[in-house]
Structures are given as C-alpha cells and as structure tokens.
Symmetry: C2
Amino acid sequence: ESSNNLKENPHSRLNILTGEWVLVSPHRTKRPWQGKVEDLPQDNRPVYDEKCYLCPSNSRADGDTNPNYKESFVFKNDFSALLEDTSDGGYNENDLLVAKNQRGICKVISFSPKHNLTLPELSVPEITKVVDLWQAEFANLASNSWIKYIQIFENKGEIMGCSNPHPHGQIWAQSDLPVEIIKETERQRKYYAINKSSLLKDYLAVELEKQERIVFENDAFVVLVPFWAVWPYETMIVSKKHVQNINAFDAKEKELLAETIKIITSKYDNLFQTSFPYSAGMHQAPVNDGNHTEWHWHMHFYPPLLRSATVKKFMVGYEMLANPQRDITPEYAAIRLKELSTEHYKSKAQ
Amino acid sequence: ESSNNLKENPHSRLNILTGEWVLVSPHRTKRPWQGKVEDLPQDNRPVYDEKCYLCPSNSRADGDTNPNYKESFVFKNDFSALLEDTSDGGYNENDLLVAKNQRGICKVISFSPKHNLTLPELSVPEITKVVDLWQAEFANLASNSWIKYIQIFENKGEIMGCSNPHPHGQIWAQSDLPVEIIKETERQRKYYAINKSSLLKDYLAVELEKQERIVFENDAFVVLVPFWAVWPYETMIVSKKHVQNINAFDAKEKELLAETIKIITSKYDNLFQTSFPYSAGMHQAPVNDGNHTEWHWHMHFYPPLLRSATVKKFMVGYEMLANPQRDITPEYAAIRLKELSTEHYKSKAQ
Ligand SMILES: O=P(O)(O)O[C@H]1O[C@H](CO)[C@@H](O)[C@H](O)[C@H]1O
Ligand SMILES: O=P(O)(O)O[C@H]1O[C@H](CO)[C@@H](O)[C@H](O)[C@H]1O
C-alpha cells in the first residue's frame, strides 16, 4: 500500500524508538470543539520581578540568595523530587509489591536574568551560553559514578505545569534508568546489533530523502515531525552526527544547536501568535553504564496545543487506558511548521 | 528493608501489570504550589438542556434524533476516531516508517436522561442499568470476528477533555490490541504460565492481608490504591473472582459492581467537595483472539487532582520524557479515601 492512504484511513504508526504505537485518525479533524477552552496566561511580565525566586539577587525558599548573574544560572532544586543522600535499599513481597530506593540530584537552570523573556526571544549567543551550561552540568553530574542517567528538560507555560514564567529548565540525574530511557536503549541497541548503524541515522536518511516531515535543517541538526508523533505539533531535533550525548558537540555545533532551538521555538510561537507551551528535553546515552554506542542524541518537543492558542489535545480516557491517539497527521503538522517564519512574531512587530 | 522506609525515602515502585516503574517522592509534599490553578466548572446545570446532543429527543450532528429514553442510551459516535469500513492495509519503509490500517467502532453511552447528574448521583439500580448496557454492547461488539479489543471508558470533567457534562461514557472497539493491553496481556500471561494462578488474584490476597491500601470491599469487588499508582488518588476496582471480562458477572455481581462504582465515585466527590474529574475504564481480555485465561477483569480510575479541587498534578517534562512521578504516597491516598463517607456530600446536604 502506498503512503498516500495514510492521509485518509485511520491507522496506527510504530514509534521505532519505544516499540509502541500511536493511533492516527486523519478524518476526525472535522470534529467541532465544544470542550474546555484554556485561559491565555498574562504576557506582560516585567524584566525583573521581586517575588520571583529565579531573578538575580532575589532570595530562595532555602534561604540562599541568587547572585546578580548576567547570563544563565544553575542551582539545586529547593524541592527536589530526588535526594543525594538516599541509602540503597529495596522492598519485595512475592514479586507482587516491588520497590527500590532511588538516589538523585535535581537542578534548576535559569536561562536568562530577564524575567520577561522565553527561549525563542533570546539571541543565538545567549542560547549558546545555555548549551554551555548544559554541557558543564552534564560533565559535572556524570562525574558521580552512582549517577546512571541525566535528564535535561524544560516545562514551558503554566498549562505544562510550569510554576514560574521566568525562563528556566531543569535537570534530574538519578541512580537508575527511567522507563522511557530503558525502552529507547533497548530498541536502539537491537537495531545497532543487527545493522551496525544508528537507528536514528538511518531514519534521518529516509526522512531527508522524502522531505515530507522536515521542518528545518542546518549543517549539524534536523528538526522534523517524527512519523510516529503523538502530540499535534510534536517535533524532534536529531543531530546529523551519530553521537551519544551533548558533550560531543564542539563550539560550532553548539552554536548550530542554539540556532536550531531558537528557530523551532520561534516557529511554535508564530503558529498561534502566542507563547507556545511545551515540555522539551534531550534523550541521550546513560552514563557510568558501560558502552552505549547504539545511542543517538536527540531532543523531543511535546506541545499540547491542537487548533488554537486555547484548545489543547487531551491525552485522557482512551489514550491513558489503551493507546495514544491524534487527529491531524504528522505530515500536515510538518507543512504548517515548515511554512512559518523562522523569525519570532514579536521581533517583527518592533 | 521494611516497607516502613517507603514513607520517607524517594523510591521507584514496579507496576506488575505493565512492567513499568513509578517514582515516588514522599518528602516532596511540603512543596508550596505557585503554579496554575484550575477554574471550577459550573455545577448548576438544568435537568434538560436543549443544546445538548445527549439529552432525550434532541438531535445530533449526523441529523439523527435521540429517542425519548428513560434509562440509558447508546449510539455510534458522530465523530468516531475509528471507522468500520477501513480496508486492511499497511505501509513499511525499511522497518523505519511502519504503519497499519486500523478498523473500529466508537460508541457513546448516555448514563441517564438527566443532564445535571453524574455517576455517583445515580442510584444503584440506575447504575446497574448502565452495567447491563455495557454487557449488551460488549457481547454485540464481540460478535464481529474482526474486533480484537473493546475499551469501555469514561472521561469525567472538562479538565479530562470531556466535551459535554451530560453523564456519559464511551466504547472504542478495534481490530488490533492497544499498547496498554499488549503490556498487561504479556505480564499476566507470563505470571499465569509460571504460577498457574491469576496475577491480580494473588496480588489481591496480599493487599487484603495487609489492609494498607484497601478503600472499600464487598462480596464481589475490592477498591484499592495500587501499590504502583501514578496519579495522586488513582484507584483500581478488582473482581474477587478471576474472570476475563464484564460478561462473566451475574445479576447479583452486577448490582455489587454498581454499588462499588457509586461508592468510589462518591468518595472522590467528597474528597474536595467537588464533582471530581477522572478518566476511568475497564481492562479485560481481548476478544476473538484465542484463549486468554490469564486475564483478570479490573477497572482503573485515573484522577488528576492533587491537593484541592483546583490544583492538579501535571504529568509533564520529567514524566513524559523519563518516568511517571508522584508526591503523596499510595498509602496516604488510601487512608484519606477510606475514611471518607460512602454517601455523596450533596445527598447529605438535602
Ligand atoms: O470523544 P470526546 O469526548 O469528544 O474526546 C475526548 O475523549 C477522547 C478519547 O479519550 C480523546 O481522544 C479526546 O482528546 C478527548 O477530548
Ligand atoms: O518542579 P516544578 O517545575 O515545580 O514541577 C513541574 O515539573 C515537574 C517535572 O516535570 C513535575 O513533576 C511537576 O508535576 C510539574 O508541576
């Protein structure tokens, strides 16, 4: 059957990174929406907010005072979900009740001293400074031999549970592999063992040839809507080079990563002329865990908005109990994102 | 290590039904909340709404007119995500782009002619009529030999993507097994092969002995907070008898199931004195798919509320990219739910 029928027929697509499926219902885009409409959060923040625990020179919950920082700034989360001093230990009752202690370190990274900006509104050199800090933190955390995985991510927008609009991300590092990393490791390892080549490198070659889901490309990175995308405008940044983690990128590549992040997040904001909410984060090889040549660095963007700035896609009943489901096709989303300007709508307004 | 340390240490727990883990951070409940606060949806609906497509005698999007029904009513979803007449077919490009057509039938069940009620506000005999309809629909859908799985569920509350407050649920039946059912089938089959006994029956025995996570029990069903619960007040109804699907329940058991549903949903409403949002649904054996003796019928409730009627738990960045995470422990949630009255707060007010 040709790929053409995927525009019309309800079908499932395989996520090659996890082995799981997504249900696509292209005909369903005609459904009228009578459900919940989101409030648009205020978008007129001051450059500095005296009540913000991320602004320079302000004090935080643990009593510390932030430095008067000029670029970006990192500190340990005052309400960490994981703690460094948790002892080893486990609990097992007939393999029916099974638990295991988890050690970890949770950090917060402020992307800018300016309270009123977001990633797409920073300059490429400013975002490059954030990439520098990600590299430094990755190296620093990985130097603890008990740390096995480092999750770098950002929740943007209050609809994504972000509790402070000051531009910031998080890093959670921990003593075991998280569920999603176990899945992606298994699939990539299996593919690498059979094909002696990176799963994402081969996937990227197919996508670059087809040009149906490519949103943006520079010398080092590609932004695309994965064939198996779950969220309406989900994208993925994939490095052209097959590398295991963020510390493999040199100065030029870091600048190109900063450019790539600026462009996809600007396109997102341009889509509905709003500060576009998402959760984004890098997936990379485990650390202190032997050889992981199979791993190919990439970064996922999971945005909830569906048709406008106030209508989101709900991953609820059927999706939670049975299978993720989407209406608009990944190909349609890619065309829309591709045609949008790479320049942020606010910068043009000036 | 004793189970006592699970009250304090950050740890992971194994979901024995899926093989996946949840991260529990008990110490983190002290975290103050500065994030998004939800609006409470209006709760003063009329008994009949002329614009509601579920109310008796009203017309629907496809032009049909609802009968003037007195109990419950079922019809094919006017915006079905799956269609009955989709042809077989697939698409495969080097095992990198993989898709498969999906056939299915999507139905909507109105639980009551009254627009202003919800499940906990119906009487046990009224809920028993809903169970009757679920049984009839299950048998009816399973009589199509191409249908392999039947997902019965409810999205309650606009925060759960429910687009119409009229009390109703859905049924999506389809030609392949959904992702979550594949996982639960695999785990139950493996356990059954080794132990010649149902995974959930043995799990239930441990829980009934410990009495730490039991919320309610009658002669045929148990409501408990699973040891591996992800959502703050997640619960599961498990049948005491090891049966494969809803059609194994006799008249007495149907009444006891209706009672169980009324009680857990009343407790939910009582928790924050609000119409408590959730997605709920049954998991049961595949149909037209050979022998599935390993399967044990159960029903999950996934509610998003965390600390009040307006503060929800966000499953975002870390959770989407890495691993589900929760703050309050399942044991704490069970104690709170257990101590709440089984009588709905509104019925007492009268
Ligand atoms: O069919 P409804 O109620 O309009 O839609 C709701 O339930 C569906 C099944 O869980 C979801 O796919 C939708 O995102 C949700 O809004
Ligand atoms: O740490 P924050 O930003 O307060 O919290 C946010 O991100 C965390 C990690 O994704 C989630 O566990 C929380 O539910 C969310 O509100």
